[in-house]
Symmetry: none
Subunit: 199 residues, 4 copies
DNA sequence: ACCTAACCGAGACGGTACGTCGCGTCTTATA
DNA sequence: TATAAGACGCGACGTACCGTCTCGGTTAGGT
């Protein structure tokens, strides 16, 4: 009965896709995620609701794609490696703090993190597309430091990266503290202190 | 015209309050937070909608109270202090891992964490009632260790606690990894390694 | 799961009911039956859609009630009986012709007749409430004439009534001719000519 | 900009036209007129929607053509004239009753009659193509009887035909009674009784 | 021991948004 | 250029809940 067939993506309207992304990001900033509606996005984008439902299963999915499309341009090649691990980490984390403190960034990111908590499927995508790639950069940088002997060979670098990043994201997500440069510096120092090879 | 006066809590029906908590917790487990509705709670609890609206401003607030009422019984006095910091932390964190792996606990806790991400007011209450008290126990235990010299005097114990707890909660909330005993043990070891007083 | 229970009609809002009738009749006249929508009625009546769906199953049912409520005031006691059957019939049919030529009457009546053609359930109600009572008046008047000997005893008065009324309604419904006084008079004469007792 | 030009009917696909008729008639029988959709017809006929929109302005027009194409084969030359008017009329009306009682005939015919009630344009075509030709046969037969003296010269044969046919169609359309042979016979007798020349 | 104000269960109400269906227009590729 | 296919903007569908609002019926204290 029902038409369950997948739509033909080669005939998709690029103009509509873009308009939907713009509308979704603008609206989530203006009214917040809870009051973000598919109808609102469609209307702001000058698009039929069906055009959204045809390509995305939920407002979270729309927002995820919209956000990803924006962020993907950032596309870093890797963390800086000046030879000074602490300095490199502080530099990057300070930049990330600035980014997380940017209001335009906050609304969609928070919304996606929150939606992911209640939707396993979504959280997989969210992590794979947005958080994992960033984390991997830290893991790689730490592994490089391991090879130069700056970090102990017996260290679990994945967990080390989490010790660095999770306090950061957690503070931000739960609003348990400000993301200041001071905080970032102390965090880096305190984590690195434990990573040095044992005498 | 409208009656804006606060209700008289001395005449409140305890029976209804309990029924609402039970219904809310049961439903959030069965249908998830997004499909949890005030009408659903009222109907399941055999209660008028107004009785809910009279006492709580939102479904998140109901759930927060319901969850708190359940968890408050746990009420620990403090972390164990056997003199062996690593052992004490591993013991408590392993127990917490078990708790977080309990399905009955997951749905409401995830829901509240997520709701908090988008609702500043709620997140303040959530943190103050549910996460801060727990965190403080760790801070206190670390401070005690600082006094025995097990932990360096120059350590920021708040951040140290976050290095311990955030990777833990982050993994769970974002589903980026399992909360195994192995993970807990490695995490504790790796964090503590950096806390020791400098030679 | 679903709430299939019937609503409590004792708590029904009379104000809304009236507003819905007014809106339905006004709109069917303005935009026609096909473009008459539940949303349009609700909006014009200043009423939630659910308030309509709670009490009626379809726009046809709303219109039928609305129309009935208007027409019920007509409530005739019976056809005139001056002793002159032809004169009585012409008098009433001329009045009916005037009524059917009234634009305010046309739109809803046509719409209901048409909707009934495709919906057996609806047509039963339509006939029982709107057409049968009128027909019965003619049947009764003819039977009275039968008793005075003006109409033959062997005549099927039901069919005689149909010979009078069906050409009339058919012309109007299908627009196959005007409902003029001339037509009415000729029709009455020609029908009565066959009803007289056989010499 | 828009192409408003009329399509070139010489290049029209006869195969598609037939498939559309078949689909329309089949569907109106299966799901009824209200749930009959252009999309449904196109899909069932294996035809693009545009092919329908190119040649017909509405689903009613499609159905009218489809029905006409089916019925046109019947094409009678005239009513029988055995010299016995009553017998001739009963014979034809009984056959018509059988036809109207055929389920395959009912759905489209009812649908068209109903659609016509709300759409003046359509009803003109409906009457001209489907009902008027039939009526005229009766008018002609009655006029012939007038010439043989079987029917009074002062009779309005058009109205006489309506006295015969309208009760018949009305009963069927509004479902106010069965179309039995008994009914047909009584109707014919009672109508003819009034048509005889006055002594 | 009654009054009466408040809470209570129930659910109708005006709304907003949902996710779906079908409209009529359009674009694309095929024959 | 007609066609099969189907994406598009749009409008309405019928449903689910929202938060507010009566409506009786309990259920306490305060007199």
């Amino acid at each position: 009965m029902a038409n369950t067939s997948t739509p033909d993506s080669s005939r998709r309207s690029e103009r509509s896709r873009r308009a939907i992304f713009d509308a979704a990001l603008a609206l989530v900033g203006e009214v917040g995620y809870d009051k973000l509606t598919i109808e609102g996005i469609a209307s702001r984008a000058g698009v039929g609701k069906q055009t959204i439902y045809r390509w995305w299963p939920s407002k979270a999915a729309v927002l995820l794609d919209a956000f990803t499309a924006t962020v993907d341009d950032y596309d870093t090649k890797g963390l800086p490696d000046t030879g000074d691990l602490a300095a490199d980490l502080k530099f990057v984390l300070r930049a990330t703090a600035d980014e997380f403190n940017d209001p335009a960034f906050q609304a969609p990111y928070r919304a996606l993190a929150a939606a992911g908590a209640n939707d396993e499927e979504l959280s997989r995508t969210f992590v794979a597309r947005l958080s994992e790639p960033g984390t991997r950069l830290y893991v790689d940088r730490l592994r490089a430091a391991q090879e130069t002997g700056e970090v102990g060979a017996d260290i679990d670098v994945r967990i080390a990266a989490e010790m660095l990043l999770s306090p950061f994201s957690q503070r931000w997500l739960m609003r348990t503290g400000e993301l200041t440069y001071d905080f970032v510096d102390t965090l880096v120092d305190q984590v690195l202190r434990g990573l040095r090879p044992r005498g």
